[in-house]
Symmetry: C3
C-alpha cells in the first residue's frame, strides 16, 4: 500500500514536470522503492527486497498506469492522496526500523534507517526531478518529524523487548496522526536563530 501511494506521488510529480510516460514510470519506481533499497544496501541485505519480490516491482507500474489515464482525477482527490501518503509514512518508518534491527543494527541506527526508508524515496524523486527536496524545505509542513517519532517509539519498544504487533501499529498510527495534524495546522520546523539574511531571503525565497 505504502509503495503504491509513494509511487503515485512520483508519477504525479513527473506529470507536473512534463516528463513522458517512461519518466513517470521511473520516478514511480524510485519513489516507491528507493527508500527500501537504500536501507537494504546499508544493512547488507542484498539483493534488496524490491529486486526479489515481483509484487514490489509491479506496484509502481500499476500506479503509473493509473496516473497516466486518470491524472486529473488523481490530482482532484489530492487530499485523499495526502492522507494515504501519511499512512505510508507511518507504515514505512515502522517496518524500516524493525527490519534494520533484525539485521543487527543498534537502536539509534535502526531508527535512523526507519526514517530513511520512509523519506528516502521522496528525496530521490525530488533530486531526479531537479527540485530542492521538499523534506528539507522550511516552507513545507513537518514530514521527517512524524517519521522520527514513529521510529523512536519502535526503537524504545525494541529496547524493552516489548515490540508486539500492537505496539508497531500504535507507532505507525502515531506517525500517521502527527503527520495529519502537521498538515491540518501547518506545523513547520524553525530555521536557524539570529539569521541576518532577511533581505536576501525576501528576494530569493529558495
Amino acid at each position: 500500500m505504502g509503495i503504491f501511494i509513494f509511487a503515485i506521488s512520483g508519477a504525479l510529480l513527473a506529470v507536473r514536470k512534463n516528463l513522458d510516460v517512461f519518466g513517470m514510470w521511473m520516478l514511480a519506481e524510485v519513489t516507491g522503492l528507493g527508500g527500501g533499497v537504500l536501507r537494504d544496501l546499508i544493512i547488507g541485505a542484498v539483493p534488496p527486497a524490491a529486486f526479489t519480490d515481483l509484487g514490489y516491482f509491479l506496484t509502481p507500474f500499476a500506479a503509473t498506469v493509473l496516473v497516466f489515464f486518470l491524472h486529473p482525477e488523481v490530482e482532484r482527490i489530492n487530499r485523499a492522496v495526502m492522507v494515504m501518503d501519511a499512512a505510508g509514512l507511518g507504515l514505512f518508518c515502522v517496518t524500516g526500523t524493525t527490519k534494520a534491527h533484525d539485521h543487527g543494527l543498534g537502536l539509534t541506527f535502526s531508527a535512523a534507517l526507519g526514517v530513511a526508508t520512509a523519506v528516502g524515496g521522496g528525496v530521490i524523486r525530488d533530486v531526479l526531478a531537479q527540485e530542492v527536496p521538499s523534506l528539507l524545505r522550511w516552507d513545507r509542513d513537518l514530514y521527517a518529524v512524524p517519521a522520527l517519532v514513529g521510529a523512536t517509539i519502535v526503537a524504545v519498544l525494541l529496547h524493552f523487548h516489548a515490540l508486539t504487533p500492537f505496539g508497531s501499529g500504535c507507532a505507525a498510527v502515531a506517525a500517521f496522526v502527527l503527520r495529519l495534524l502537521a498538515m491540518r495546522y501547518g506545523w513547520r520546523a524553525p530555521r536557524a536563530w539570529h539569521r541576518r539574511s532577511t533581505a536576501r531571503e525576501a528576494q530569493n525565497p529558495v
Copy 2:
C-alpha cells in the same frame, strides 16, 4: 567500448557546463561506470567490477584526455558519437541483464537491472551537472525503450535456456537499431492523457 563512449558523453557535458578538467574526469568516470557500479551494489557483487579491473578505471581517463585536447573535433563528429552511444546502450543492457541473472536474480529484475546498467551512468551524470535527466524528458528521443527491448529479449532467451552468444548479439543489435531509428525519426514517448496544463507548459517547457 561502451564505457569509453559513455565517458566521452560525460566529458562533453562537463565542457558544455564549463567545468574544469577534474570535473570532466569525474563526470567521465561516473557516466562510464555509474550504471555498472549501481548494478553491482544491488546484486551484492562487491567490490564492483569497476573497482577491480584497471582497464575499466582508466578508460574514462583516456576519454577525458581526448575530449580535453580535441573537444571541438569531438563535438563535430557528434553524429558518430551518438551512433557509438547507441551501440554502448545495446551492449550494456545485454551484459547487465546477463550478469544480474548470473547472480541469481529473477528474470524481470535482471531485465530491470540491465536497463539500469545501460541508463544509470547517464542519469547520475545529469544529476551531478544539475540537469533534468534527459532520460526522463519527453522532448528527447526514446532512450530507455531500446534498452528495455534488448533486456527483455535477453530475459526471454534466458527463460527458455536458449541464451547463446548469437542471441545476445541479436538483442544488442535490436536495441542498437531501435535507438538509431528513434533518433532518425524523432520517436518520442507520450505524456499523460488529459493534461489540462497546456498553458503552463507553453510558458515553462521544463
Copy 3:
C-alpha cells in the same frame, strides 16, 4: 574531527539555502558521513562504520546544534572553518585509502576511494541543495587535487610496504598544505582547450 567540520559546512549551506532545522541536520549528516558510507558500500563493509559507531552519528547532530544557535558567529570565523575543512580533507583521503586497501582493493582503486571518501560528502550535500557540486566547478580553488595527492602518497607507501603512522601523517599534511596554498593563491584547474564558446560562457557563466 573531520566529520564535525564537514557537518558544519553542510549545516551552513542549509542555513544559506533557507532550510529548516531538520534540513540542517540531514545535510550535516550526509555531508559528514556520506563519503565514508559510499566507500563502505563499495568495498562491501556493511553495515557502514557510520551505522555502527554512535560517535559518528552524533557528531553531525552536535554540529547542527552549534550552527543553529551560533551561525552568525560560525560564519564570521569562516576562515578558521575553511582551514579545518582542509585538515578534514587531508585526514579523510588518508584514512579512506588505507581502509579500502585493508579490504583488499588494488592501489589505484584504494586511492580513488580515498578521494571519494574525502569529497563524496560535499558532492551529496551540493546535489541535495540543488547546486552544481563546487568540486566540479572551474571557478573554485583546487579541492580534489590535494586529496588526490594525499591518496597517491599513501598508495605509493603501501606499494613499498612502507606505510607507517608517520608516513600517513605526512600524506595528510601534504594534502592539507596543498589545499591551503590553493586557497591562498587561488589555484584553479584548467578547462578544455580550444573552447569556442566564449560568447555563450559570458552570457551563462554556469
